[in-house]
Every structure is written in C-alpha cells, then in structure tokens.
C-alpha cells in the first residue's frame, strides 16, 4: 500500500520535473509570450469596447473585462494542454505511458506546469497593463479564497482537459475544435461580462 502511494508520488514528481524541463527548453516562447501578451490584451479589450466606446473610461466595466481576460487565458491555456495529447500520440509516447500503467491525467500534469506558468505570466502582464495603460487597480478582496478557488479551478481544468484529450484523440484536426472551444467556453460562462449588467 505504502509502496503504491510512493510510486504514484514518484510519478507525479517525475511529470512535474518533465513539465519544467519542457518549459525551459522553449526559451523563445517565454520571450515571445512577454512580447505578445500586452498586444493581445489591447486587441481583446478594444475589439469588445468598439460597441460601447464611452465605457473605455468606465473602471467597473474595464475591471470586469480584465478579470474576464484572465479567465480566458486560464481556459485557453488548459484546453491547449488537453490538445497536447495529440503530440504524445504522434510521437508514440502514449503507448509507453499505457504500458507503465500511468494515468493520462498524471501525464498531463507535466504539461500543466507549462499552462500554470503561462497563466501566471499572463496574469502579471494583465495587472501591469491594467495599472499602467488603463489606470485600473486589480485588487484581490480575499487572497486566501482567491488562492483556494485558483487551486480548485486548476484541479477542475486538469480533469476537464483529460476528458477533453480523450474525446479529441481520434480527431483529424483537433486544433480546430480547441480554437473554437477556447472562445465558446468563456463566452457562455459570462467570464467576459458581468452578469449583473
């Protein structure tokens, strides 16, 4: 029993290690993310607010949009994590994972490190952009609850992405489904607007 738990923990740490190695091996993407994120934020905010340009100075709306964008980064990043299973299949790694009796969710945990780092980077850039370009202060009313809900969201999306990965595994062009879902899910979750408005 104890040996079994030890094996599982070992696998989890191996996957987390793999995730960090994966992230470090693509240094150009780290730089690319830092350059791209502010432009994407500008694009999304202005593409939406063209319908109500007078709200460009409305701090309440802008703050909600910023949090909506954070959730968009979150959902998008984890959907692409699910999509990464295709590369695992194409490179023949999945066969070995199944042979070693490892769960796909455990394997995806490694890739989730990249997603978590991406979301954190996006979040930091979002806070800086909000402050320096839109004169907003994105404050967290209760940091403890924020942390708890982030962990819950992480767990939810980890398992959601695992189910998603299994569903798209036989698909010919899964990137099409991922591209569509990354917009549809936040849209129908009201994460870009305030439901009270």
């Amino acid at each position: 029993m104890a040996g079994n738990i030890y094996k599982k923990i070992n696998k989890i740490f191996a996957e987390i290690g793999r995730g960090f190695a994966l992230w470090k091996s693509y240094k150009i993407f780290i730089i690319s993310d830092f350059i791209s994120a502010p432009f994407w934020i500008y694009f999304f905010i202005l593409a939406i607010l063209i319908y109500a340009q007078h709200l460009l100075n409305d701090k309440f709306i802008l703050t909600n949009l910023m949090w909506g964008l954070f959730m968009f980064f979150f959902i998008s990043s984890f959907l692409w994590m699910g999509n990464s299973i295709i590369l695992v299949v194409q490179t023949g790694i999945l066969e070995n994972i199944i042979l070693t009796n490892t769960k796909i969710s455990t394997h995806l945990l490694g890739r989730s490190v990249v997603s978590v780092i991406d979301v954190t980077t996006g979040g930091i850039i979002l806070i800086l952009m909000a402050y320096y370009t839109f004169n907003l202060t994105l404050y967290i009313a209760d940091p403890l609850f924020f942390a708890i809900f982030l962990i819950l969201a992480f767990l939810f999306f980890l398992f959601f992405s695992t189910i998603y990965a299994i569903l798209i595994i036989a698909s010919r062009s899964p990137w099409i489904i991922t591209n569509i879902l990354q917009f549809i899910i936040p849209f129908f979750s009201w994460s870009n607007t305030n439901s009270n408005v």
Binding site: S36, F39, A47, A52, Q53, L55, I176, I180, F183
Partner: protein
C-alpha cells in the same frame, strides 16, 4: 523557362492536394471571422445593454477576415520552411535544381488564391446581410484592392521565412510579430483608440491600409486618394526579396546547408 514553369506547377499542385485532404481546415477558416465577430458582438451587446449596430458588426467581420488572411500570409512561407525542415523535404527540394524563389512564389500564389477565396465567401455573405445586393459591385472591386495589398504582405512573409531558416522555430518569431500586427493595424477597431506610438507602428505596416481600403471600397467606393501609400508599401515587397536572399545566402555560406 519551361523548367521553371514545371517546378512551379509541381509545388502548386502539391499544395492544392494538401488542401483537398484537409477540407475541414478551409471550412474552419471561413467560420473563424463569423465566430470572432459574433463573439465580440455578443459581449458588446451584454456590456452596452442594447443591440449593437449591424454596421459595426460588418466593420468587424471584414476586419477579422482581412486579419485571418494577413496571418495566413505572414506565416505561410515560415510554416512551409518549418514543415520542410521537420520532414526533410526542404533538403531534397534545395538539393534538386528547384529555385528557392520558385518555391516561395508557388506557395505565395497558392496562399493568395486561398486567401481571396476566403475573403470572397465571408465578405459576400456579410455584404448581403448588411447592405443587400446594392453593394455587391463595390465588394467585387474590393477583392482587387485586397489583391494589390497582398504584395507588400508577401514582403513581410519573406522576411519571416528568412528569420525562420535562422531560428528554426517559426512559432516563437511569428507569435510576437502577429500580435503586433493584429493589435496595431486597426482590423476590428479604429487605430485612433490606441496610444500614439502604437498608431505610428500600425501606420508603418501595410495591413492597416489594406483593411481600411477594402472596407471603404465596400461601404463607399474606391478612393484613389486613400491608395496613396501603396507605391511606398511596395517597398516592403522589394525589401522582403532582398532580405530573404541576403539571410538565406549568409546562412548557407556559414552552415553549408539549411536547418540543423
């Protein structure tokens, strides 16, 4: 000359066959401008609390279509180089007596036809929805305007392709360039909403003029006054060819071969 035509036709037909095998991809790219424009339309309606005007939706769907085309154009040769490097196809192509510029021209022409087909389908539907059949002639004219603006875009495409040969990983280079193009060119909002330095950046690239001229031709009519930057923007095309040749020659001289 016949040899070059044969090389061109061979590459072009391979690209066509590749597209036929992935018809879903074509359908998705047509669907994409609709998805994005309805997405912003829906959120815009939610925020403003009223039904937004269809003219703004039209402004955005044309913008999203030109944006999609620009992105395909910006990274097409880079993607071709990357795929060629991964599969080893590029080595064979370059070892054969195929001229590198023939490869670029063939893929660019294929992408132009691909891009204009997308614009034709999406733009036609959007024009009929918002303006009815009255503006169809204007719309057809706008296709020619867009074709003119594809040339400077091709120059940028060549520069990105050359950078890909050096850096080997196009996504890392293409992503930031794309995000700058997307945010500063005023595809789906007037660039006057941006800070001044970003406006200047947008005005120095051909994409802003492409989308503005296309929209203006459909809504009003062709205005030669607004085409004034075109001769200047063609410098991008010339610069693209020169930079591509320089970087390619320099890389081959140093490494003796393409890629790894």
């Amino acid at each position: 000359m016949k040899r070059y035509i044969n090389q061109f036709l061979a590459i072009f037909s391979v690209e066509m066959k590749d597209l036929m095998r992935q018809a879903g991809q074509f359908g998705f790219i047509i669907f994409l401008p609709f998805l994005f424009s309805f997405f912003t339309f829906g959120i815009g309606a939610g925020i403003s609390g009223s039904t937004p005007s269809l003219e703004i939706w039209f402004y955005q769907i044309i913008g999203f279509t030109v944006l999609t085309i620009s992105l395909i154009f910006a990274e097409s040769s880079a993607g071709y180089v990357r795929e060629g490097l991964l599969t080893g196809r590029l080595e064979y192509l370059l070892a054969s007596p195929t001229h590198p510029l023939i490869i670029v021209i063939a893929t660019a022409l294929f992408n132009s036809i691909f891009a204009l087909s997308i614009f034709f389908i999406v733009g036609m539907i959007a024009t009929i929805i918002v303006y009815g059949v009255l503006k169809i002639l204007n719309f057809i004219l706008s296709i020619f305007i867009l074709t003119l603006f594809l040339l400077p875009m091709l120059g940028i495409n060549l520069i990105i392709a050359a950078l890909t040969i050096i850096a080997k990983e196009p996504a890392g280079i293409v992503q930031p360039i794309n995000s700058i193009i997307i945010a500063t060119s005023g595809f789906v909002y007037p660039i006057t909403l941006l800070p001044l330095f970003l406006q200047s950046l947008g005005r120095s690239l051909p994409f802003h003029y492409a989308v503005e001229n296309v929209r203006m031709t459909i809504i009003e009519f062709i205005n030669l006054l607004y085409l004034y930057p075109l001769p200047l923007l063609l410098l991008y095309f010339i610069a693209g060819i020169v930079i591509y040749r320089l970087l390619e020659d320099n890389f081959i001289r140093k490494r003796g071969t393409y890629g790894w």
